[in-house]
């Protein structure tokens, strides 16, 4: 579903990703863990075209996200092409990023109407379904500012799902939440992962969640994949010392 080939990403002189290669199969749930600055979030941002690759290619499904073929050559893709491919990818952010000037319902219907071309009736129907799925049907006419952090994030998840994405990117989606709200959001995500065949790429510090839901976990360090294994293997018998150190430091925090 997702394929990174020799991706390099530079910010000025700083090389964040250095020849990254990995794939994600359709329907897989892959979690990225590792210290800050190791490049995990950059991978998500590249997929969401919030950043551009310095070199290398990214494929989503059978289309190339980062480049288009012009005759013999591969040239960097223009905005229109990227927007086309990107429609299959959704993202949930650490800071929720709900639109504060719209009610919850409009937050959910805006993109399906404007980007997918649904009618208002269809979009609203889909919105109601999703709100029920995340357990917030009664908040349909509320303003984002009236909701708690956990509720806002659930609306954000619903908003992303409204686009019926093939791929869902989760960028530390519980890091900004009060501890008592985290469990609710994680349970929701686990539910969605198990009941749909959406491909998930998740960056998180919640190791318990990662272990519970992922098909694979990738440990990152300094822009490289250090280890790539199913959670049982990686969490109990990591191959690398660095992974071991990282896990023990994180798990100690509880």
């Amino acid at each position: 579903m997702i394929r990174f080939e020799d991706v390099v990403k530079r910010f000025g002189d700083h090389v964040v990703l250095d020849g990254l290669n990995f794939t994600v199969a359709p329907g897989e749930f892959v979690t990225l863990i590792g210290p800050s600055g190791s490049g995990k979030t950059t991978i998500l941002r590249l997929l969401m075209t919030l950043e551009q690759v310095s070199s290398g290619t990214i494929h989503v499904g059978d289309e190339c996200l980062s480049h288009v073929r012009r005759g013999e050559k591969l040239v960097p893709a223009d905005e229109k092409h990227q927007r086309q491919v990107r429609k299959r990818i959704g993202m949930v952010f650490q800071q929720f990023n709900l639109f504060p000037n719209m009610k919850v319902l409009q937050n959910l219907t805006e993109a399906p109407i404007r980007a997918l071309g649904l009618s208002r009736a269809e979009a609203e129907e889909r919105a109601h379904e999703l709100l029920e799925l995340v357990g917030l049907s009664d908040k349909v006419n509320a303003h984002p500012t009236q909701l708690s952090g956990g509720q806002q994030q659930r609306v954000a998840i619903a908003r992303a799902l409204a686009m019926r994405p093939d791929v869902l990117l989760l960028d530390e989606v519980t890091s900004a939440l009060d501890p008592e709200l985290v469990a609710g959001v994680l349970a929701l995500l686990k539910d969605i992962a198990n009941t749909t065949d959406i491909t998930f790429l998740c960056v998180t510090h919640e190791m318990g969640f990662a272990r519970d839901v992922s098909d694979r976990v990738m440990m990152f360090d300094n822009g490289h994949v250090l280890e790539d294994a199913p959670p049982d293997k990686l969490f109990s018998e990591p191959d690398h010392q660095r992974t071991r150190d990282f896990l023990s430091a994180v798990l100690e925090r509880g």
Partner: protein, 222 residues
């Protein structure tokens, strides 16, 4: 010619013209000028952010040129140059256009600050949802940017109010123009100019109270 410093009958004689007709013209100039400035300013701000290098640079150059040179000279410029192009506006219209153009450059700066104050996460969310660019502007960014800058725009309207007297140099009889005219006609300036001064003080002070109320309701971006 009277030696007294202040003559009340003369005061009441000039009062209606200065306060009546003059005030009307001052308000017209301020309101129309502000409308032009607010709309054109937004256009400038958006053009300034154009990804097409030529557009954004030319816009920047125009904004800087107008902002850094005196409004008075720009008024003269338009007043004398319009006829060459066959444009025959009356003095007030020319003045309003000059005011609007000049203050649009200030407004552009205000809008820019407001737009940049919108959290970058909003842009990212719109991208993640594949919202078309125009729609992102209309439905997400501008509704968040504009309310916050209204107090700053309001302050510029107050400044414009106080600069409308510049129009007297092309014969517009706003408060100051009327006062000057009356004064020249009777060779007595004290009363009309004092009326004008107090009137501006009252107008701008009440307007600033209004803006401060607006600030409290909406928050500010400088």
């Amino acid at each position: 010619m009277n030696d007294e410093f202040w003559q009340w009958d003369y005061f009441w004689e000039v009062f209606p013209t200065v306060v009546g007709d003059g005030l009307l013209i001052t308000l017209q100039a301020t309101v129309y000028g502000s409308i032009i400035a607010y709309v054109l300013g937004l256009v400038f701000a958006l053009l300034r952010r154009s990804p097409i290098r030529v557009v954004s640079t030319v816009t920047w150059a125009i904004i800087e040129f107008i902002r850094s040179t005196p409004l008075l000279v720009q008024i003269f410029f338009l007043f004398f140059v319009f006829p060459d192009f066959g444009i025959r506006f009356d003095a007030l219209t020319t003045g309003v256009i000059a005011l609007g153009l000049h203050y649009a450059t200030y407004a552009a700066e205000v809008y820019r600050a407001g737009i940049e104050a919108v959290p970058v996460g909003q842009w990212e969310a719109a991208t993640a949802l594949s919202l078309p660019r125009a729609r992102t502007w209309r439905a997400v960014i501008l509704p968040q940017a504009i309310p916050r800058v209204l107090p700053a725009l309001g302050n510029y309207t107050i400044s414009m109010l106080k600069e409308t007297p510049l129009l007297l140099v092309i014969g517009v009889t706003d408060i100051a123009g009327a006062a000057f005219q009356q004064g020249s006609a009777a060779f007595r300036y004290v009363e009309p100019i004092t009326i004008a001064g107090i009137l501006f003080l009252v107008l701008s002070y009440s307007a600033s109270l209004l803006v401060r109320w607006l600030e409290r309701r909406v928050g500010t971006v400088h």
